[in-house]
């Protein structure tokens, strides 16, 4: 195929797709055009509702039954995919064009071993005989950097970690030696350290297989790290398309600029400001430019007709009338800090002492029968203090125990041993009564879709905590309106059901509920991770305002270190049920690092293609919490393991300096000599 003239592997011309829904016709894609050459990675970035997955499914000819291609063409190696007969399509799909989905767990057959599963793909497409297929499967596993392919080939999907499963899915996609590989959010469900390895793999594959890759993600930083060229989708339109370096350094479309400014940049190099407004209703698209209602550079002409694609530079186009002005405008900078960063050490409002939580403790009967399995060590012997008025962030990958710790602080779980005491900030008195505790300590959950009862209206949701606290009915009605106003929603929202709200609006309601009782300590359990980039910063603003108004203390649980760098005063880094490092933001982001913190920091992609941080690779996977490793829990994956001491002796948290604590056997002097992982750029005031 590569021998032919310079024909693009994939050519999409003015593609429009719409969905028939009871509310009317949703125009999910409108006149999207793009080309991808062989050996090139084209990144598509967009928020939810931008149509990025619709694009992928349109190419795969796998759209939902209520979808209709309203116009345009999709050419694959010169052949029109939209006009292809079903059997011709079958020969191409899965072989010449392959797709990697977001959730590897559902893409793999749980009842089939990995080896036969890959071999099956080869046999279906008659690419190998039966014995040949098994051997080729092993080759493919090796190609995606899976250690010990024969062992993995014998495993069932559930025996592999998420990162490993995704590698297997990629191996299957590569089985037919595809000319086009579509990757739809392939790292979204994975931890950062695992994500870093998958991104490395994508970069390697581009050199090795020469396929064109369409990489779809909501995460601009990931797109910046993998793509040669990038397209930005907004409300079904490709608003800008450019070589990666151009797009990230000199964005032309106001939406692209807005998106980049909305990111919490880990190196504090960019602003962190929301894009105002919300995605337009796709059944009633605005007359002119689709971004006009939210644009900072709006002029009359913008609302009259859809602007044409303007040529900004070589292979750089933007659908904007005012791109020259937008491009020339100085970058927006706006420092956002959730924390007070006062420096003075306030008294503790919550003290966590030797807190341990084991799930699934075997009962007396199973123990007597000898069937007992060891319990899950969700949290082991954690001691820390939350100080009055601060923002303490708890970070770590999935399974590190941060959510368990948050729920223990809230008394939603009973500890296996140890204790949490909460004190009033003013009086210093310990909170003992249950009613007082529920009033003073509150929580905001990660996903407002599930934390708001879908059958209850906003007014009822906000009324309930007040009713529990015994506020009289008339005062409650007033207070509910006040709360709604405080989270900047108008009274029209009172009688809506959660499903009639956008993600950001739902989270505002959840925040209003948490603040209804005037709390002093609020646990924020990943409050931003279910939100789109453009609305994250506005929720942060809201949290900042509420905190200063109430003088509240936050425990901010997050896996996103970029966000934490902007928002926290202090950080506790957790790994497999233990706190391995604790200190102020500056202390944690500068050497000495705990080796795990170092790996974590280096794994974070930044939205700048010219910055490729040297990644510290973490080998293997997080060990089972049922059988945590002896000694230092990180020793099985630590790149700078000393030796037996790490396997046998548990490192205590030792003081590095001032307020900085580390749990590592490596002498502090050695750790101090290491170079910083992130550039030490200072935040502008």
């Amino acid at each position: 195929m590569s021998g032919q003239a310079a024909e693009p592997a994939l050519q999409i011309e003015r593609l429009s797709v719409s969905f028939a829904t009871p509310r009317g016709e949703v125009r999910a894609l409108r006149e999207v055009s793009l080309e991808i050459e062989g050996g090139e990675v084209f990144g598509i970035a967009g928020e939810s509702g931008s149509g990025k997955s619709t694009l992928a499914y349109a190419i795969m000819r796998d759209l939902a039954p209520n979808a209709r291609v309203a116009g345009g063409a999709i050419r694959f190696a010169g052949e029109d995919l939209l006009g292809l007969a079903p059997d011709a399509l079958r020969r191409i799909r899965g072989r010449r064009i392959a797709m990697v989905y977001q959730d590897p767990k559902s893409a793999l057959n749980p009842s089939m071993r990995i080896g036969p599963q890959i071999a099956e793909v080869l046999e279906i497409h008659a690419l190998a005989s039966r014995p040949g297929a098994a051997a080729r499967a092993l080759e493919l596993l090796a190609l995606v950097n899976i250690p010990d392919p024969p062992a993995v080939a014998r495993a069932y999907p559930h025996q592999l970690s998420g990162g490993m499963q995704q590698r297997v899915v990629i191996a299957m996609a590569l089985a037919g030696d595809p000319a086009l590989l579509i990757m739809d959010e392939p790292t979204t469900g994975l931890d950062v350290t695992t994500q870093a390895r998958i991104l490395e793999l994508v970069a390697d594959l581009r050199h090795d297989i020469g396929a064109a890759i369409l990489y779809i993600s909501h995460d601009l930083a990931v797109i910046a790290q993998v793509s040669d060229r990038v397209g930005i989708l907004y409300a079904g339109e490709l608003v800008e398309s450019a070589p990666a370096a151009q797009l990230f350094h000199r964005p032309a479309h106001p939406y692209t600029r807005g998106l980049l400014d909305a990111l919490p940049d880990i190196d504090l190099a960019r602003a962190f400001r929301p894009i105002r407004g919300r995605l337009p209703d796709l059944t009633r698209r605005p007359e002119g430019c689709v971004f006009a209602p939210r644009c900072d550079f709006l002029e009359d002409a913008c609302t009259r007709a859809q602007p044409p694609m303007a040529t900004v530079g070589e292979s750089h186009v933007a659908r904007c009338l005012r791109w020259e002005t937008a491009m020339a405008a100085p970058p927006m900078r706006q420092e956002r800090r959730l924390g007070a960063a006062s420096g003075e050490i306030a008294a503790a409002v919550a003290s966590v002492r030797n807190l341990t939580k084991h799930y699934d403790e075997p009962g007396a009967l199973t123990r007597w029968l000898g069937l007992a399995r060891p319990p899950v060590h969700a949290l082991d012997d954690v001691t820390l203090e939350v100080r009055g008025g601060e923002v303490l962030a708890l970070v770590g990958e999935s399974g590190c125990g941060k959510t368990t710790l948050g729920r223990l602080v809230l008394r939603l779980l009973a500890p296996t041993s140890g204790a949490v005491t909460v004190r009033r900030r003013q009086s210093g008195a310990e909170v003992t009564s249950d009613a007082e505790f529920r009033r003073v300590v509150r929580i905001v959950f990660q996903n407002p879709d599930s934390s708001l009862n879908p059958m209850k209206r906003v007014a009822a949701i906000l009324d309930r905590p007040l009713a529990i606290q015994g506020v009289p009915r008339r005062a409650r009605r007033l207070r509910v309106r006040e709360l709604l106003e405080a989270v900047r929603l108008d009274a029209g929202y009172l009688h809506r059901l959660p499903r009639a709200l956008s993600g950001g609006e739902k989270q505002r309601v959840a925040i209003a509920r948490a603040f209804a009782t005037g709390p002093e300590l609020v646990v924020l359990d990943e409050p931003l991770s279910a939100l789109d980039v453009s609305s994250q910063a506005s929720v942060v603003d809201l949290l900042t305002e509420l905190r200063s108004r109430l003088d509240a203390t936050y425990v901010f649980i997050s896996h996103d270190l970029s966000l934490v760098r902007h928002l926290a005063d202090r950080i506790g880094v957790m790994y497999l049920g233990r706190v391995v490092e604790l200190g102020t933001v500056d202390e944690v982001f500068r050497p000495p690092y705990h080796p795990y913190t170092r790996a974590l920091l280096s794994s974070i992609p930044v939205p700048d293609p010219s910055v490729r941080a040297p990644t510290v690779r973490l080998e293997g996977t997080v060990p089972s919490a049922r059988r945590p490793p002896s000694g230092c829990r990180f020793h099985t994956r630590c790149p700078s393991k000393l030796g037996r001491i790490c396997e046998e002796v548990e490192p205590p948290l030792q003081n590095a300096d001032g307020t900085h604590w580390l749990a590592c056997h490596i002498p502090l002097e050695d750790l101090r000599r290491e170079p910083p992982v992130r550039p030490a750029s200072e935040p502008d005031a």
């Binding site: 529920r438 509150r442 959950f445 990660q446 934390s451 708001l452 009862n453 059958m455 529990i468 959840a510």
Partner: protein, 274 residues
């Protein structure tokens, strides 16, 4: 007009089921005004009349007007069907909800008892209860209600298990809500769709069960108008005139089909929305 055709095309079972139930409901509620004769009005001279001008659907062995008795029989059927299911819900919903919410050993224990009840055919259980208590309309209602409770409890429990792990339940606990409020105020509203589907299909079944009990002489007693009873009495004279058998039989079938279509339609409607 267009909205009706659209509703029928979008969900035929729901539209047809609703139509049938609306007709049945209207006819039975308005029975005293619609019926041309009194329920118990006998006319020995007019026994076993065929449908005609004087008696639209004919008469039975005592010369009672079949149209009148079929209309009034619908009242008994609906009363028994709806009443029994209401009783079943009253018993089954709290049991299933509490069992699923409590989980663990409590759930295990409750569900084994429920399983034991479920292992009897519901009609057989109703028969046992009526035999023990004596034959009467009230006892039939009680028997069918109690017999339908275990099945309802099972459905409610399984739905509770799915809902109780949602974060809004945790959020309710985090703000100090009582277990009773969480069960009835937070979880129960989310169970209403499956409960409505289950209940509407069970009403059809309960009507059939009550007719069966009456047919066996263990439910509604003469001279009350009841479809099951009418079939029982007509059976002996089937070769003299089929009309006393056909009228209540068709009414019974139509009503049950109506409830089943309605239940299926609601289920499809909710599944489509999810």
């Amino acid at each position: 007009m267009t909205t009706i055709t659209r509703a029928v095309r979008a969900n035929p079972p729901l539209a047809i089921g609703t139509l049938i139930l609306a007709c049945v409901l209207a006819l039975t509620v308005l029975a005293p005004f619609l019926a041309p004769y009194g329920v118990a009005e006998q006319s020995i001279l007019d026994r076993f009349q065929r449908p005609g001008v004087k008696h639209l659907l004919g008469t039975d062995q005592y010369g009672r007007d079949l149209l009148t008795r079929t209309l009034f029989g619908g009242r008994t059927a609906l009363l028994l069907g709806l009443g029994a299911v209401a009783l079943g819900l009253l018993l089954g919903v709290p049991i299933g909800l509490a069992s699923g919410y409590a989980g663990g050993r409590t759930d295990e224990a409750v569900m084994r008892v429920v399983d034991a009840f479920l292992s009897f055919p519901a009609l057989l259980m109703a028969l046992m209860i009526v035999t023990a208590l004596g034959a009467s309309t009230a006892h039939a209602l009680l028997a069918i209600g109690v017999a339908s409770a275990p099945g309802i409890a099972r459905i409610v429990r399984s739905q509770t298990l799915a809902v109780k792990h949602e974060e809004f339940v945790l959020a309710a606990r985090a703000q100090g809500d009582s277990h009773a409020y969480i069960m009835f105020g937070e979880i129960l509203p989310n169970l209403l769709p499956p409960i409505v589907i289950e209940a509407s299909i069970r009403v059809g079944f309960a009507i059939l069960a009550s007719a069966s009990l009456s047919f066996l002489g263990l439910g509604v007693q003469p001279p009350t108008a009841d479809w099951g009873l009418m079939i029982r009495e007509a059976r002996q004279h089937i070769f003299l005139s089929p009309w006393p058998l056909l009228c209540p039989g068709l009414a019974l079938a139509l009503t049950i089909v109506g409830f089943n279509l309605f239940g299926d339609g609601v289920r499809d409607r909710l599944a489509g929305r999810a």
